[in-house]
Amino acid sequence: GIQVEQSPPDLILQEGANSTLRCNFSDSVNNLQWFHQNPWGQLINLFYIPSGTKQNGRLSATTVATERYSLLYISSSQTTDSGVYFCAVVKFRDFGNEKLTFGTGTRLTIIP
């Protein structure tokens, strides 16, 4: 199956800093999503972004499908940004198996 690697595994930043999280995948994809899991376990869908760039407030994401990676940018980080960020993909034309494969996540801790 497709492999999804996220880096860094852990990131500790001061409030107000910017951060970049990376997701590499081993095959072509037609579906890529970013999720944030807060410290209480709630998982929120941040972006559906199989290609291109999207922005939502202080968060933006870019997927370069031809080079098999995606980046999640967090600007002016706040303590509420803490948690684990997951990237998940569906392999292109993996008919009958169109379910998301999740990476192992990046744990982000924002220090006040």
Binding site: N31, G41, Q42, L43, N45, F86, K99, L100, F102, T104
Partner: protein, 113 residues
């Protein structure tokens, strides 16, 4: 707008007892439905998914089963819980078809004692 409800939020059950976790989705029809499990500090493991009433696919052979008795209802069950069944269980839905965003419920934290 669409919403997903999952209950209970927390559950403590003795080994050997039965389990029933329920998930319902509102505001959409014929969604794809999923059950995931997350061990403490770990990633997400897909347990079951369903593309329609009575249609269940199992990803991992184990002590659990799933059922979809109604279009927007997904139930996770066990006849006899094991210690290893402890974890955080998440229900999720997406619009049926092709490549739509996945949305999660708030999860059930299960502790088997």
């Amino acid at each position: 707008s669409q919403t997903i409800h999952q209950w209970p939020a927390t559950l403590v059950q003795p080994v050997g007892s039965p389990l029933s976790l329920e998930c319902t989705v509102e505001g959409t029809s014929n969604p794809n439905l999923y059950w995931y499990r997350q061990a403490a500090g770990r990633g997400l493991q897909l347990l079951f998914y369903s593309v329609g009433i009575g249609q269940i696919s199992s990803e991992v052979p184990q002590n659990l089963s799933a059922s979809r008795p109604q279009d927007r209802q997904f139930i996770l069950s066990s006849k006899k819980l094991l210690l290893s069944d402890s974890g955080f269980y998440l229900c999720a839905w997406e619009t049926a078809g092709y490549n739509s965003p996945l949305h999660f419920g708030n999860g059930t934290r299960l502790t088997v004692t």
